[in-house]
Amino acid sequence: MAVIFEKTKALTDKTFHYCPGCTHGIIHRLVAEVLEELNLTDNAIGVAPVGCSVFAYDYFNCDMHEAAHGRAPAVATGIKRVHPDNAVFTYQGDGDLASIGCAEIVHAAMRGEKFTTIFVNNAIYGMTGGQMAPTTLIGQKATTAPLGRDENHAGLPLKVSEMLATIPKAVFVERVSVHDVKHINQAKKAIKKAFQLQMEGKGFTLVEVLSTCPTNWGKTPVESLKWLQENMMPYFPLGNFRTPEEV
């Protein structure tokens, strides 16, 4: 019988712990498929964050570090400086990267650290139960913003890709989404490009992936995909913010 689909070998056989309808699973698979297609699985060293994807080290079938909350870019810096020829990546959520780890990601980008960051933005703290994130939208309800985020009290959501795109050594910055097949394919292309540029030694690379959190948004998986398109995409526009000129 002909094999028509095979799970990538860059993922382990461990069952994901993610909630139904959460798009972390899709994003994990995209990263893993890219590692396999670029023949990097045996060479890769990943860094897992604190947040919903804290157990990512159980899912990626390559060497992994678990980092403290927000510190993945500093940990990846240490790894890449020791192993400059390895493919190094961090996988971080919006609480981890955009809040507590803001200094680490900005300075890793500033130094042009040659690793790839997969930044999963679902506009909420998932693992701790739905608290407000720096990326939570105005009016969006969270357990620490029960009446919805008020910009006069909590400011406006942080646009990480736009901010990092101002840094010269952040050579590749792109925002993608995984709410439908077309966008999933585009997301994979961006992730692949980021890893290719890393291996060419170009500089810091980041792909921001808009993601859903049905559990903490209080929506069904299908409603969540629609909510992402209608609410997140207008504020967090998709697109490439930085690409090396010669590419």
Binding site: T41, D42, N43, A44, I45, V47, V54, F55, Y57, F60, N61, C62, D63, M64, H65, E66, A67, A68, R71, A74, V75, A76, T77, G78, I79, K80, R81, V82, H83, N86, A87, A103, E104, V106, H107, R111
Partner: protein
């Protein structure tokens, strides 16, 4: 090799390089700045990597990444900066990674001051970060000893897979003394099979981690760490005993304070008062046995602990003496340094009291 005059901070940095340390991540803070400054010049000469991090928090996490990748790696800081590193130190201890952390201690609390102090003893020896863990804490009392202990520190870290702290007060970092970089006996060190290097398709993936979501597993991990700490207590305890024979007063002091105490001991000797010194070189593991033994001796009337703090190590001296002999304390703090004359006076007060 002939002796050369070296400043403590630079001597520690050179000793680290001679010990095979090839990665250094740090952040400026007085009075340890000569360590990162020296490293920024010397590391590239040796094919290593010096990086000035954006914060102490980032520096210790770079150490975590590099240590997990199998490198010999070091960071240095001073008290407020070491406070910032505590989260990372706890993760490094939890993930069983070897590294060396230098603390050139200054006065506290808060921003405190920049003069020498020993008020980080609790932080170094009694936790500092969260959870049950230990650091091996080495306390040099001269620049030569700082050099010798730096070389040992990397081997201890690699042998037991744990962070080792070199704790010197500001004086150790800032003063210049004659130094000889000696060959240290090489230990048989285990291969770093656990390090992340990329699997190269030859082994299962390695994971550097301190997360155990199942409490039974987490407890098991703690038990494993503490079995290791018991081994270290047996094998790595270091202490200097000075003029203990027939001593009425036994001082307990470490680092440069111990040298001031020796000066006081010699003054007391001339006045016909016999005093000796127990100088812990490893603050953890602490040399309880030396103090226990002294407490048992009939000639010992009392202990006097001298520290540049409000009294931290004195707790361990009391535990070891377990009420058998009185334990007194004399300390200066905030960057003030005890004088031999003040220490002599304390002894006379104590002896006046027990006679």
């Amino acid at each position: 090799m002939a002796k050369e005059l070296w400043k403590g901070n630079e001597a520690i940095a050179e000793a680290a390089i001679k010990s095979g340390c090839r990665f250094f991540f740090g952040y400026p803070i007085t009075p340890q700045n000569e360590i990162p400054e020296y490293m920024s010049l010397r590391m590239p000469q040796e094919g290593g990597c010096f990086l000035q991090a954006e914060s102490e928090v980032a520096a210790i996490n770079m150490v975590y990444g590099a240590a997990g990748s199998g490198a010999r790696v070091m960071t240095s800081s001073s008290s407020p900066g070491i406070s910032l590193k505590q989260e990372g130190i706890s993760y490094i201890a939890g993930a069983e990674l070897p590294c060396v952390i230098v603390n050139i201690v200054r006065g506290g609390p808060g921003l405190g001051g920049i003069q020498p102090a020993q008020s980080d003893y609790y932080q170094a020896c009694k936790g500092g970060g969260h959870g049950d863990y230990r650091l091996v804490v080495l306390a040099p009392s001269s620049v030569q000893e700082a050099v010798d202990l730096t070389q040992e520190a990397f081997d201890i870290a690699d042998q037991y897979r744990m962070p080792v702290m070199i704790m010197g007060d500001g004086m150790i970092g800032q003063m210049m003394e004659p130094v000889e970089f000696r060959e240290v006996a090489k230990r048989q060190l285990p291969d770093k099979e656990w390090a992340t290097t990329g699997t190269k398709g030859k082994r299962k993936a390695n994971v550097i981690n301190s997360l155990f979501i199942d409490p039974a597993e987490c407890e098991k991990h703690n038990n494993k760490l503490f079995a290791k700490y018991d081994e270290i207590t047996k094998n790595e305890m270091r202490v200097e005993e000075y003029k203990l024979e027939g001593a009425e007063i036994v001082f307990v002091a470490y680092g440069t304070t111990a040298r001031i105490v020796k000066n006081a001991i010699n003054t007391l000797e001339k006045e016909g008062i016999k005093a000796g010194l127990i100088r812990p070189i490893t603050l953890w593991p602490f040399p309880y046995a030396s103090i226990e033994a002294a407490a048992e001796k009939a000639n010992v009337k009392a202990f006097l602990t001298v520290e540049m703090s409000m009294g931290q190590m004195v707790d361990d001296v009391k535990i070891a003496a377990s009420g058998k002999k009185p334990v007194h304390f004399y300390g200066r703090t905030g960057g003030m340094v005890p004088t031999p004359a003040a220490i002599v006076e304390q002894v006379k007060k104590i002896l006046g009291g027990v006679k």
